[in-house]
């Protein structure tokens, strides 16, 4: 409820019980002094004046509404609300038509009629039925096999971009290729429905869909390989030194690490240490290391280290 103290009426003292806005103290009037009769009459008149404006308390967005007025003469009508501020001259006693286009945005509207004095009423516009979904999915890339790694949040909106606060059933579905990873129906609360789930086991695109009736919002999440697992290298001498390469770099679930992943090769010999940061190309990382003596070669990617190679001196 919108509670307010209208200062235009601040000086009116309530006389007895209010009944449809009219003071019902007729019996007391019969026994009062003349100036009290006048005061009561004036009071009645002012109470009658209070009934100049009547409006629905709640309207659905995008629908017309009507405000009825009582009285005679002309007045100025004001309408303030989200996205709306208008002013027009009106005749008291006639209905004031509020166009649908003025009541599209959900929220609180104040209608004021200023004759003498100004009177006001409040109208709430509520969202209409769901006609759109805002769907946020995170992350855009997710390592495979992670618990609670994928989450989605859906907000239902009506055609005027008002948040639909009434409960709405949202179906969430996750599919990777042909297999379904999750299918769940969630009722929205406070205008939001959400889910959280684990990522799949295979790298590749993950389709995430939110559905409300015929409405559908789809997002894609890229499932990527996790940390390299069993990083193994092999090497051989060349005329320039040592050519070292990894076996196909994969995670523990067998997903190949994407090209561009950096593998750091290190070689230690009598001359010191040599390192090369080489990117994976077609699943394998290679590097040329200068060396004349026997050396120990190792590789690492991120925080994962691989095996060591001992390569003998040049014959």
């Amino acid at each position: 409820m919108w509670s307010s103290t209208n200062t235009a009426l601040a000086n009116r003292e309530p006389v007895g019980r209010e009944f449809n806005g009219r003071v019902a103290r007729v019996s007391k009037l019969r026994h009062s002094r003349p100036f009290v009769h006048v005061a009561a009459l004036l009071c009645l008149l002012s109470v009658c004046a209070a009934q100049k404006i009547q409006a629905p308390t709640s309207v659905t967005a995008g629908e017309d509404a009507t405000i009825s007025t009582i009285g005679s003469g002309t007045a100025t009508f004001y309408l303030f609300g989200p996205g709306v501020a208008s002013k027009q001259d009106v005749r008291l006693g006639a209905d004031i038509h509020l166009a649908a286009k003025d009541l599209q945005n959900a929220g609180a509207y104040t209608a004021v009629i200023c004759g003498d004095p100004c009177r006001s009423t409040n109208i709430y516009v509520v969202a209409s039925k769901t006609s759109g979904l805002t769907f946020l999915v995170h992350p855009s890339r997710v390592p495979v096999g992670q618990t609670d790694a994928v989450s989605g949040v859906a907000f239902p909106f009506d055609q005027f971009h008002n948040l639909v606060l009434a409960p709405v059933s949202v179906d969430f579905q996750l599919t990777a290729g042909a297999s379904s990873l999750m299918s769940r129906a969630i009722h929205s609360e406070n205008g939001v429905a959400w889910f959280r789930t684990a990522s799949g086991k295979s790298a590749g695109p993950l389709q995430v869909v939110a559905t409300v009736g015929a409405l559908r919002a789809a997002r894609a999440v890229q499932q990527v390989a996790f940390e390299p697992c069993n990083l193994r290298i092999k090497g051989q001498r060349t005329s320039k030194g040592i050519m070292v390469e990894t076996e196909p770099v994969k995670d523990c679930a067998g997903n190949p690490l994407p090209d561009g992943t950096i593998v750091t090769f290190s070689a230690s010999d009598a001359n010191g240490k040599s390192t090369v940061d080489a990117p994976v190309k077609q699943g394998v990382a290679r590097a040329q290391l200068e060396a004349s003596d026997s050396m120990i070669v190792s590789a690492a990617s991120g925080v994962v280290t691989g095996n060591e190679l001992r390569i003998g001196a040049r014959p």
Partner: protein, 379 residues
């Protein structure tokens, strides 16, 4: 009377000129160490090795290349364009953006015919002051001494075509009218894997390593806030250029954050913050770091030196070396960095050296070097 003021002004100007020319140098220096900076005036006849070096370097400083080249000894085995390139740098290298601000030198040994001078050159560069030390040979020819300029070996790289097959990542930004939630590319996932705060000669230092755990390149910056016992921040600093900002997937970089004139005595906590943003990048060029070794340099300082090998077909204009040093527990005890002032040509090498604080040299058990690089016209 009316000529008094002009006379005083002229006399004062002449006196200041004489003082500048013959008086105490720009900076005080130990006895026996000659020095110089860009000062107006004439150069004296090179009757001593010191004067020869002073004249030569003054001409270099003023960029009067014809004079400098003509003052070289007969034994110099270099043509003028090559000589000028040695000093001015080429191919967008750091040297090509630098100025020789100051120099000083001292004799290593001298005889009647020949002398060896150790010259310390101080360059102003876009990345701060850079010091270079080199030994100059000076020969006695007739009644003057002349600097003998050595021929720098030119890398003999055969002409060839090198295909670029490494991955490249481009970044496409969304349109201005993107609907909320409809297009979403998350920032790269990076993680600080280690952090160590310690005192240094200039104040305090926070250092460690950070890894790009994602499958796309990340532009990374690390900030640290020193917090006192009551939770109030004392100071906040960034890693600035002591980090390899562009990290490819699974790449690790050290970082160092300096807090000058701040002691760790009142620091109760260090709040770390790593920011990563999407950035276009290329996996090329691949730069190998060869023959890394800890030694003492000619000045007796502990340095990690080695050579950079450009294994690609692209010139690296300004290579930047960042090295992390570990103790026997694998903890990062220091991070050093240094710029190579020559461009790293394709299939060629350039030497580098980064300094290690003397107090830490004995604790270092291992080290790791990464190469940051700036190439003109490349992202």
């Amino acid at each position: 009377m009316k000529f008094a003021l002009p006379i005083i002004l002229v006399a004062g100007t002449v006196a200041l000129m004489v003082l500048a020319f013959f008086g105490v140098g720009v900076s005080a220096s130990p006895v026996g160490v000659a020095h110089g900076s860009a000062l107006p005036g004439l150069t004296s006849k090179a009757e001593t090795p010191e004067q020869a070096v002073t004249n030569f370097l003054t001409d270099v400083q003023r960029r009067t290349w014809d004079r400098a080249f003509s003052s070289l000894g007969k034994a110099s085995d270099v043509d003028e364009p090559t000589f000028i390139e040695d000093w001015t740098g080429t191919r967008g290298s750091l040297r090509s953006l630098s100025n020789l601000e100051q120099f000083d030198f001292r004799p290593l040994h001298a005889s009647n015919d020949e002398a060896q001078m150790r010259v310390r050159l101080r360059w102003t560069t876009p990345v701060g002051p850079v010091e270079d030390v080199r030994d100059l040979r000076v020969a006695h020819e007739g009644d003057v001494w002349k600097v003998v300029w050595p021929k720098e070996p030119i890398p003999n790289v055969p002409a060839q075509v090198i295909p670029v097959t490494y991955l490249r990542w481009d970044l496409v930004t969304g349109g201005a009218t993107d609907e909320w939630g409809s297009r979403n590319v998350d920032a790269p996932r990076v993680r600080i894997t280690s952090m160590n705060a310690s005192e240094s000669a200039e104040g305090s230092v926070v250092m460690g390593e950070v890894v790009n755990e994602d499958t796309i390149p990340a532009f990374v910056n690390v900030n640290a806030t020193l917090v006192d016992a009551s939770g109030h921040p004392i100071d906040e600093e960034s890693s600035f250029d002591k980090i390899d900002h562009v990290l490819l997937p699974k790449q690790v970089t050290p970082y160092r954050i300096d807090f000058p004139n701040t002691s760790l005595k009142n620091v109760k906590n260090v709040r770390m913050d790593v920011k990563a943003t999407l950035v276009p990048a290329s996996a090329d060029p691949v730069i190998g770091v060869m023959d890394q070794k800890i030694d003492s340099d000619v000045q007796g300082k502990a340095v990690l030196h080695g050579k950079l090998l450009n294994q690609s077909g692209q010139t690296v204009n300004i290579p930047h070396v960042i090295a992390s040093f570990y103790d026997n527990n694998g903890k990062v005890v220091w991070v050093s960095d240094g710029y190579v002032d020559r461009a790293l040509l394709p299939q060629s090498t350039e030497r580098f050296a980064v300094e290690i604080p003397r107090s830490l040299a004995g604790k270092i058990q291992n080290f790791h070097v990464v190469v940051n690089q700036y190439s003109l016209g490349q992202s």
